[in-house]
Structures are given as C-alpha cells and as structure tokens.
Amino acid sequence: MSTFYVMVRKELRSVTKEKTIMIAIMIQLFIASFSSVILIGLMSFYDPDSIAWNANISIKVGVIGDADSPLVWFLRDRNVRVTPFPSPLDAESAFRAGMVDAVIFVPEDGRGVVDMKLFLPTSESRSTMILMVLKEPMKRYENYLREERGVHVRYSDIRGMPSTTYEFRYSVIIPILMFFPAFVAGSMVIDSISEELENRTLETLWSAPLSLNVIFGAKIAAGLVLAVGQCALWSMLLRFNRVPIRNLGLVLLFAAVIAAIIAVGSALIATYFKDRERSQFVYSLFILLSAGVSYLFDASPITLMIRLATGDYYTGIADIAVYGVLLLALLAAFLSVAKRLIAVPA
C-alpha cells in the first residue's frame, strides 16, 4: 500500500511541479466564464422576460394615436414611461432630442386587424434591447385583442419565473464543470502511460518491486484525486456565485465515479495503442461519442447529474450505484488484461 501511495504522490508532483494543472484549471474557468457571458448576453434574447426580471431597464416611449389603449396600461405596468404626443411631428422631435427611446403609433381598435407602427433607433443593439422590453406588454395587448375577438388564450397567466438561466446553469454549466475534470484526468492518464511506454521507462519501473497493477492503479488514482479536487473547487465557486448544488455529496461522488470510469477507460486505450498520438485521438473521439450517446438516451450521466444537482425527488444513490458497478467491471477487466496488452507489440 505504501508503494502505491508513493507512486500516486510522484504522479501528482509531476503535474503540480510544472504548474501544468493550472492551465487545466484556467481552461475550465475560461469555459465557465464564456458560458456565463453567453448566458447573460444571449439566453436573454430567447427569454426577454429574464432581462426585464434581472435588470431594471427603464425606457421611455412616445405614443401617438389612441392614448387610452390598454397597451398604454400594459406598458406602464412593465415600468415603461409613456408620454402621449398629439402629432407625429411632436413625437419625432422628442425622439430626436433623446426624450423618448421609441415611438409607437397605436390605431383605434376597430375590430379588424390592428396595424401598429413602431419607430426604433437605427442602432441595432439599442433597438434590440428596446424590442425586448416592449415584447411582453405587446404580447399582453395581443392577447387582450384576441379576447375582444372571442379567442380565449389559456395558460397566459401562469405564475412562474423565467427558467432560461436556471436551465442553462444546471444543464450546461454544472455538467461541464463536473465532467470536464474527468476528461482532463483521462487525458493525463493517457499521457502518463504512453510517456512511460514510448520512452521505455515502464520496463525499469516494472522490474523494480512494483507490480504493473500498482503502477497503473497509481496513475489512475492520481488523475482521480485531481478531478475530484477540481470538482470540489468548482462547487465552491458556484456557491460563491450563488448557484447552489443540491445533494453536493452525491454530486461529487458521481463526478468521481465518472472520472474513475473515464480514467480506467483511457488507461485501457493507452495500453492498447501504446503511443500518445493514437491514444489521444481515439480517446477524444470516444469522449465525443459517449457525450453524443448520453445525449440520446434518457438514463445518461448528464441527465443524472442534472437531476442530482437540482434535487430531483426520485434520484439518489441507487442511480449512482449502477455506474459504480460499471466502474468495478471495467476496472476488473482492465487489471486482468493489462499485462497481456502490454506484452503485445504496438
């Protein structure tokens, strides 16, 4: 056992000494950051409500035409400041003077199609923003007009919160942060094993009183330690950013199990191909493949991770145990064939 421990420490030192692990951590921080930029900047387009919810953007709108239209009330309800103007010219000069951000022409509701006109500034980013804020009141007005025409729209007043942010955080960011360390661990195991094989240092190690299983086991364990460490770090960062993970213990356990499966699998790949080039290539293809497969099926690691992290009622340790069994089977298979695989020339 002590030789195993020494080997694990040696592996860990080789990563921490040259600070290469810092690069890996930076990558993940980078991915997480870019994801949050995407989240803030883009998902809000899909779900304009969340912008109005998150930021109190106040815009000023000039109205020409029917100033008693329900639309005006809906606009004011959304904190839009509405100024009625008697003529288009007044509205336009106010618009040019920057007193209003947009001008709406509201025709009288004459039971036919209501052709409203909206005047926006040419600046693309500003007009997009204004449109986003105006969308909800306009939708309410549209529903009002529908009711007037005898069309009842159901489910328009469900009490709820815009879910885009929530979904993105729990179904994209958390799985990325919890599984990426596993991916890094697999890569590390491949590098570590293929480096020994290509530089022919494995024979030396092997002839020392170390069994092959201890050597490989230590490499896998080192990758695992780093992966779990990173996951713990991310969960802390997430908590710091007010994204709490439910069932944190189970989430970390599951991340560890997946990291172990990937690490053992990558050790298998590395001992089969015996050089870094092919192993890394096959490995990354394989990861892509598994991600795709898990995307297609319901019972996939990604779904399980989402359910654990969001605190799903029916999900628990039993689901993780399935992957635990898979891990044990894979490990047993690897340990029994590793010796034979090594003996076969590349």
Binding site: A24, L29, F30, I31, S33, F34, S36, I38, I40, L42, F45, D47, P88, L89, E92, R96, V114, D115, M116, K117, L118, L120, P121, T122, E124, S125, L131, K135, M138, E142, L145, R149, V151, R154, Y155, S156, I158, R159, G160, M161, P162, S163, E167, S171, S187, D191, S192, E195, E198, D275, E277, R278, Q280, F281, V282, S284, L285, Y295, L296, R307
Partner: protein, 591 residues
C-alpha cells in the same frame, strides 16, 4: 516545391503506419459510430435540459411533448399532495397550473408557461381565421438620428404614418372589394411566414432565407430571437474536424523529437520553412476537403465557404504549430493543446453568436459563415476585417516557427517562460535590432488583444467593481510585458548594454505598439461604425501623449532590469504602476 512534397509524402507515410491492422479497425469503427451518433443528435434537435422538471398532470390536462418535462398523470388530490411533498415540481390542473413557492417549482412553471403558450398559438392558429387569431401586427421602422439633415429627416416618421389612415398596402382604394380574390396583404403574409418558422423552430438545422423586406412586420407572440443558434452550431461543425486533425500535426513534431529523427531532418538540404509547410500540407488539405464536403452536404456557397474557412484553418494551424515547439512533456502538450482549442473555439464561435446584434461580431470569420447561411450579404471590407488578423497570425507563427525550428531549441527542457523568452530571442534578427523590436511589439498586438479579451470574460465571474479594477490591472501588465519582453531578452543575453540603446529601443517599441494599437482601433471603428472618431484618433494630441506614456513606462521597465538589476517581474510591476496612473489620469479618476 518538390522538397515540400517529399516531406508531405513522408508525413502521410508516417500517419498510415500508425493505423494498420487492429488499430485501424478500432478507429474506423469509432469514427463510423461518431458519424451515426452526430447524425442522430442532429435529427433529434437541441434540447439541453433533458428531463429537468417533473410535471403532474390532471387527466384532462394538455399533452406535453417536450423532453424537458417528465410527466405523470394523477388525479387532483394525489397531484396536489405530491406537489406539497416536492415529488413533482408543478401540477397542471386542467387550464390551471399550480406551483409551490420555491425556486425550482417556479422555474418549472416558467418553463411550462413558455411551452404551453407556444402550444396555444398552434391551437389558435388551427381553430380560428388568421386575422382573428393574430389580430395585432407591428410594423417596425428605423429612424436614423442624422442631425445634419434634420429638415428632411424630420418628416420620416410622419411620412411612414400617412399611409396608415388609408390602406396599409399599395392597393387602390377601390380594390378593397376584390380583396378576397387578391393575394393577402403584406402583414398576413408575414404572419404566415412567422407561423411556419414557429412550427419548424424546434428542429436544429433550419437553414433558410430570413424573411427580408424593407418593413419588418412583427407579431408579438411570434417574435423570435435574433440569435443565430443553428447557424452558429453549423459554423462550429466546420471547425471540429480541423481541431481533430491538428492532434496529428502536433504529434508529428513530437515524434521527430522523441526519435531524434529531427536531427536527420535538419541536416538534410531543407529549409525550416519547407519542413513546416511540408508537414502542414497533408493536414491543411484534409481540413480543406472537409470544408468542401460539409458545404456540399449543407448546400452552401462553395467558393464563399472556402474563402471564409481558409483563414480559419490557417489560424488554427498557426496556433497548433506553436504548441509542440514549446512543449516539454506529454502532459504539457495535452494541456496547452486543450487551452489552445478552448481559446480558438471561443474566439471563433463566441462573436458569431452576436451576428446581427453587434457589428463587432465580425471579429470572427464564422460570423461571415453565419451570414452566408442566413442569406445575408457582406462586403469585401467585412471579409478583410475578420480575416486579416488570421492571416497575420499565420504569417507571424510561420516566421517564429522557422526561427525556432532547431535542435537545440526543440530538445531543451526548461520552464515554460524560459522557452518563450528563448523563442523571442531567436525571433529577433540581431543585425536589424531596431526594426525587429518595432515590428515585434506591433505584431504582439493581436495576442495582447486576445489575452485582454479572455481576461474580460473571466473577470465577469467577479462582482462588477472588482472586475473593472482587475481588468485594468491585467490589461496594463500584459501591455507592459509585450512592449518590454524583446528588450529584456536582449539585455539578458548581453546583446545590448548601454543606456542609450535601451532608451532608443524602448522608444521604437513604444512606436510599434502605438501604431498597432491605433491601427486596430481604426480598423474596428471603420467597420463598426462610420464614426467621427476616426479623424480624432489620429490628431496630434491623441498620438503624442500616449506615445510619451508608452515610452516612459517601457523605458522604466527596461532600465530597471538592465541597469539596476531588478528582477523582470518587479520591473514590469513598476512600469505597470506608471502606466496605470497614466490611464487613471486619462479616465479622469485622478485630477
């Protein structure tokens, strides 16, 4: 040329020897699997949050066909008690939706609302006349804030409005009776178009012409976001094979190193450029072939796609060329490659997401590809804006590659920053010091720019106040390093000693940096907006003072290391403080 082909052939031979027998079978199988899976995923569409919510449904509730929701049908009393026990997130009771008062349940209700509203639209569309189902149409007009021609522009709004009291379409007043026989009005056609988009909206690869018209017609409930997700994913698919192939490209150099065959190669009558080009050729050709195939499959414009993706391919390979050259161990290479691929992908994909929202998105050529697939046009200027930096980086990387492709450099095992310092030293032409230093800081601008961009993204994890502060600090430090690194390695290697040399080189470095900085700003502004800022950029005040500031801080850094033996990081820190004070002064924080 024949030398290059020889190297290329040798490269292909090496690659083929890698995949023989059993390993070829494994790779072919996995590749085939990857294709099948990606095809299936492609078919199924993009739903990220599979099985996220649990929804209880009363027997008379609506059907839900969205993989985000797991539904169970239960009667009322069971449903409400399950809701209380947190066994389900929301309960749909006929036309009502009940939720709990906690975040998860409210989010689920929000998501369900979004889905059900869409279902309602489909129902209404089927049950009612289109004019009754969609009674509100909003015509969007854009008004420029041209102040100079105010007299003319002022009537814009009124002009657009005068038509409304009459018929909105250009039909004769008498033609209204014949309206049934006539084609539908503009707005109804637009509504139909948008309904069609709504119905196909769930699937991913929807490449079609956008509804283009001078006047944009919006139906509030059908308003779709301007985000080109599908097109961005397609553009990303183009980049994917290139990054896979590059694994072999990086390995190629490492192989040579491990077997020490590079010694043989270097002693052959070949120039470093021939070696690099020869090794790159097979992979670049393969990447190009994948671009061609993908465009043919997706039905894009082949010529345009090739023009857009050639610089992208060259850019990716130029980054990957640098990876094995500074590598020491396998793990290093893996991590640096990972970093490279992340940075490249985000640099390319991220701006493309904003295409149509902000013109700065043209920073990435993928935006051009997105435009191409959306049927939007772009000009030569946009093309040059997004691709010129890529060509530049490629040229720079090839140049550095040829300078550092020698045995001593490749075989040396040193800390990463030493490797970089050495590479900079080798890049500088000793007989043309002045020119080299000027060009060096000029060419480092794109890299500085990229690092600052990355920092910007990372800083968003912090609260706003710290983010801005941190960003300013990092930006200043990076700029100081970029300006002084060349001079510092010259000092270290004893090429220059005299104070006069240090000052002259610092000045030239400042000049180079300033030119690059202003050029970048000018090019961005000229594409982003026809603004009046451009002449102001080049007025004397805007040039002289920053030049002095750049010179002073760089000279300080170099003098401190060169003359007073202060360690480089500390010297950079001192220079950065001066630079930061100047920045704060310009920003008006310090009076």
């Amino acid at each position: 040329m024949s030398n290059i082909l020889t190297i290329a052939k040798r490269e292909i031979k090496r690659l083929r020897s890698r995949f023989r027998g059993g390993s070829r079978l494994v790779v072919v199988l996995i590749l085939a699997g990857a294709f099948v899976i990606s095809y299936l995923v492609f078919q199924q569409g993009a739903v990220l949050s599979k099985g996220m919510y649990r929804v209880g449904m009363s027997p008379d509730g609506p059907g839900i066909h969205d993989s985000r929701f797991r539904t169970i049908t239960v009667d009322r009393s069971t449903g409400y008690s399950m809701l209380d026990e947190r066994a389900i997130d929301v309960y749909v009771d006929g036309d009502e939706v009940a939720s709990r008062n906690n975040a998860r349940s409210l989010y689920a209700a929000g998501a369900l609302k979004q889905y059900l509203e869409k279902q309602e639209l489909t129902r209404i569309k089927d049950e009612y006349e289109i004019d009754t189902a969609f009674p509100l149409r909003v015509e969007v007009n854009y008004i420029g804030n041209v102040t100079a021609t105010q007299g003319i522009a002022l009537s814009e709004l009124a002009d657009a409005l005068t038509g409304t009291s009459l018929e909105p379409t250009e039909t004769d007043p008498g033609a209204t009776e014949a309206a049934q026989a006539m084609p539908e009005s503009d707005t109804t056609a637009a509504v139909r178009e948008q309904i069609r988009e709504l119905e196909s909206g769930n699937r991913l690869p929807e490449i079609e012409m956008e509804f283009t018209s001078d006047k944009e017609i919006i139906v509030p409930s059908l308003m779709s976001p301007p985000v080109p997700f599908a097109q961005v994913i397609i553009a990303f698919l183009y980049v994917l094979p290139v990054s896979f192939v590059s694994v072999f490209f990086t390995s190629s150099f490492m192989d040579e190193k491990i077997d020490r065959r590079i010694t043989v190669l270097m002693s052959a009558p070949l120039t470093p450029l021939q070696i690099i080009v020869g090794k790159m050729l097979p992979y670049v050709s393969f990447s190009l072939a994948s671009v061609v195939i993908m465009t043919l499959v997706l039905g894009g414009n082949l010529l345009l796609a090739v023009a857009i993706f050639i610089p992208v391919i060259l850019f990716i390979f130029s980054i990957y060329l640098m990876v094995p050259l500074v590598y020491r161990t396998f793990k290093d290479t893996t991590f640096i490659s990972m970093l490279a691929i992340t940075v490249i992908t985000s640099y390319l994909v991220f701006p493309a997401m904003f295409s149509g929202v902000n013109d700065l998105s043209l920073m990435s050529p993928l935006t051009l590809a997105v435009k191409m697939y959306r049927g939007e046009s772009f000009g030569l200027r946009e093309y040059l804006f997004s691709t010129t930096p890529m060509y530049f980086i490629f040229a720079l990387s090839m140049y550095i590659g040829t300078r550092i492709l020698n045995e001593e450099y490749l075989m040396g095992f040193r800390p990463l920053h030493r490797k970089v310092a050495e590479a900079i030293y080798l890049t500088i032409v000793r007989s043309r010091l002045y020119l080299s230093i000027t060009l060096l800081s000029l060419f480092l601008i794109p890299i500085v720019y990229m690092i600052q961009l990355v920092t910007l993204a990372i800083s968003l994890n912090l609260p706003m106040r710290y983010a801005v502060g941190g960003l300013l600090v990092v930006a200043v430090v990076v700029e100081e390093v970029a300006k002084s690194a060349g001079i510092a390695v010259l000092l270290e290697n004893g090429v220059i000693r005299a104070t006069k040399d240090i000052l002259v080189l610092s000045f030239l470095s400042a000049v180079g940096f300033l030119i690059g900085e202003k050029l970048l700003l000018y090019v961005s502004l000229s594409v982003v907006s026809e603004s009046m800022l451009s002449p102001a950029l080049f007025s004397s005040g805007m040039l002289l003072i920053p030049l002095v500031a750049h010179f002073l801080s760089t000279a300080l850094v170099c003098l401190l290391t060169g003359r007073f033996g202060i360690r480089y990081p500390f010297a950079v820190l001192a220079g950065s403080i001066v630079h930061a004070l100047y920045n704060l002064y310009v920003l008006g924080v310090i009076p």
